[in-house]
Symmetry: C3
Subunit: 366 residues, 3 copies
């Protein structure tokens, strides 16, 4: 599965988590790396340890677009090649190198291609809605102490909304989705899976999932007549037991007052990680005050982390309503089989148009 | 040993740790469970995870005497049978079930029978002293980070009182038990082991231990002329490395002033777990202010947890004074042998009368 | 390697970490021990657990020059022999004993000999500079969460000073050592290794390393015209993943004002362990305010702990400038080979005179 995930562009950091001239350690898919921005502002992703005496490279000095180890001053460029070993005098640096992965900034996130061979064009992760001129756009990161797949499966499971997002408190999301159980349908697309959940005549939810670990949904923003927010969420493994959950929220600009209100809201509430409130959620049953971003995350967190670090799927009792999860697993197996057999997998490609996502009315609640 | 412990009623929670309509997770003997009280007030002990997608059931909704999972609304009754799977429509729930154990409330504790077959009558754990009309009775729980057997063996070892309860500070318990070493005798009874420790003509201590992990002792309450307190203590494994220590304190009512004083004392001091003060005890050598309940626990804690998480008994150097421990181990082996051979073990039964426990005078200290 | 380290006197505790009549637990080279001072003031190092029921002996009572277990009163003398078992009455104590190691106090440290056979004379660890009459002398301890060898190798690597001690901030140490890369030479001596690093005509640094894990260096104290401080540093393993770093600072007395200033400085700043500030150093990049003792430790800490708990040396890329480390490893292998073959190793002996350590001038910075 690692090989499969690595053959796609994956978000690995918030763009503003590293400023020009600075470095930080970063663990992605079980690999310890160094993320730095050159003085030029360009980001680079290279190995975590200096190959010489193996201390953390992130503690080193960024100089131009290169990074110098703090232990004995070995210097590496963004392609991972060693360009200086001061104490080795004239010995040269031939063949001394560290790993390096291509990176690409998009919508407030830094994506990396950690697979073999040439990186594919940065196209599959794009959505028109994340490129709307003038839109209000916010990127967030949460890190959860459980396997990434539990979180992906949660997003391919439209039934959970009727329960999980009515748990503890009904927030902005639950308010438009009735607690009734939906009729489900799933369809494989060029990019992934289109999921449709019909709860009533006025309540059809569509979400547009992109292979292998991204979902795109839409739900209300703050006030009833605010434009709805498009949410893109990626689950990138830190390792098998921890997951970075990257979220982009994009809202079309409307009135200056609404825009200001929404900006202010994200300034105030978006720094939240439910893992920092684990006992509040699991032991004390206290939910966050915020009913939009924080509540929604907290509710999903209780469901996914409540499964434990890595859920034992051999003991599941699945039903017909888990058909989305079943499809998801079939696609993973099919693509992993292709890798194993050395034949080409499906050429996933960006949809020619973003999926249509109708707004729902909670006819029962309303 | 697990099989043996499970073939007896064991306390698993304080009765007031779960209120009607609520659930909590509970780990007992290495098994993750859900304890909940129905709206009727009846307690139930069922499996820890929903069998569907395996999230924690304790986060669910208690409805009537049943519990509904927060993830997709599967519902279970107190016998563990699935009674609803909303998104499965008309599919029925035949055969979907989780584990369930009988529970019984007694003296402020919730007991469970986690063994095979029909639960035995709730009789062996009972004592007349815990059923005295009008008595002042208090239930407590401490959780210690060490194996349960270290704690049981400590209670079958009357010599330790002369040292451990004179350690750091002599409290209400040490005050009546001289630091002299006692003459010991042990006798197997219908219910367990009667332990007698004679320190002098006026100091004979008797304790009445019930198979497999309960002790009953008696010692002074607060003032010299207060009635003595009967203490029942059970060591229930959370798992091999952690133990729940349930304590019942029962004092016959005397004068209204004394009763009020004693109630007030337990209100103030009984919420104490020495594990929360581990470094104070082990590193700083600070003992609790309270000289009765807290000091006695803290002293035993230092002895038992000082042995490490699971003591390596292959390296012990036992002496004649460890005859109580030797008897205890023989009984365990005998009963485990019976289980292994598939023959009936001893039919332990409640003593026809509570043991006589004379009060001691510390003639040396006094 | 354990056998080799144990065949030398090793510092195991600060002398003032245990007062007369008290005991403390102590873990050294993976072994749990009890360090106590008898009422006479004499220190003793014996086993960590009472052999009877195996509770921690350090919680016991020190009586005279013996220690009594808090559980059942077994008593042991400083040689580890059991001298009393109160509850065993007349049974005697023949053959009951715990481990015991010879100890020796020197320069504010307690050294122990934990090897086989007779302890060697306490001679190799001595230096004239630590025995100067009237000198200001201070002993410190830091405990780092990494293997001891990473720290020893750091001290046999003179190049690191040009980088590590110019990292974040240039303190008193970095100020006299230019960031230029030195010419190195290493020479095996009777006692260990003499390391010489020449940066320029006025900058020759010599350090005098004593087998198997002690270094001796010299650097400025507080003001430019204060006498320089001799620093002895020993890396004693707690276990494979943690190391006690014992440091002696010795400064010849000069003027009463300077002496008072230096004493005051060490009173204020010497209680520092970079491990207590790990995130400040690694995550926030905050260095300690103090530019001498604390900064120097913090910088080395980032280099050594940045290598991880135990660095994977199979993946190193060493260069010619690592010749000190190469020599160090050859000496270890040679001496371990001797142990394995059962032939005598080198008879390391104290140098007839302390090494001459010239003061440097940072001609470039100055």
């Amino acid at each position: 599965m690692g090989k499969l995930l690595r053959s796609f562009w994956q978000p690995v950091a918030l763009a503003d988590s590293v400023v020009p001239g600075k470095a930080r350690p970063l663990r992605v898919m079980g690999e310890d790396l160094t993320l730095y921005r050159g003085d030029s502002g360009k980001p680079f992703l290279v190995g975590g340890l200096c190959p010489h005496r193996r201390t953390m490279l992130a503690n080193g000095w960024v100089q131009g677009d290169e990074i110098r180890c703090m232990y004995h001053g070995w210097k590496f460029n963004g392609a991972g090649a060693c360009t200086e070993r001061p104490a080795e005098r004239t010995a040269g640096n031939a063949g001394v190198k560290i790993v390096s992965y291509p990176v690409h900034e998009y919508a407030g996130l830094i994506f990396a291609y950690m697979g073999e061979g040439e990186a594919p064009e940065f196209e599959l992760p794009r959505k028109s809605v994340f490129e709307r001129p003038g839109a209000l756009q916010f990127a967030r990161l949460e890190t959860w102490p459980c396997n990434w797949l539990q979180q992906v499966e949660n997003s391919m499971d439209a039934v959970h909304v009727s329960f999980v997002h009515h748990w503890g408190m009904v927030g902005s999301f639950g308010a438009v989705v009735a607690a009734t159980v939906p009729e489900l349908s799933y369809e494989e697309t060029d990019a992934g899976i289109r999921q449709t959940a019909v709860r009533s005549a006025g309540s059809t939810r569509v979400s547009d999932w992109t292979f292998p670990n991204n979902n795109h949904i839409s739900h209300p923003t703050l006030e009833l007549d605010d434009p709805w927010v498009d949410v893109g969420v990626w689950m990138t493994p830190v390792d098998d037991e921890n997951t970075m959950r990257f979220l982009i929220y994009s809202i079309p600009a409307s009135t200056p007052e609404a825009d200001a209100r929404i900006r202010d809201y994200f300034d105030t509430y978006s720094e939240y990680n439910p893992a920092d409130h684990h006992d509040d959620l699991f032991v004390n049953g206290n939910l966050p005050d915020d009913r939009l971003v924080q509540l929604t995350s907290a509710q999903d967190y209780v469901a996914a982390v409540g499964q434990g670090t890595i859920v034992d799927r051999t003991k599941e009792v699945l039903g017909r309503s888990d058909m989305g999860i079943a499809l998801l697993r079939r696609l993973y197996w099919r693509e992993m089989d292709a890798i194993e057999k050395g034949v080409p997998g499906k050429r996933w490609k960006r949809l020619s148009a973003d999926a249509h996502m109708p707004k729902q009315v909670n006819e029962i609640a309303g």
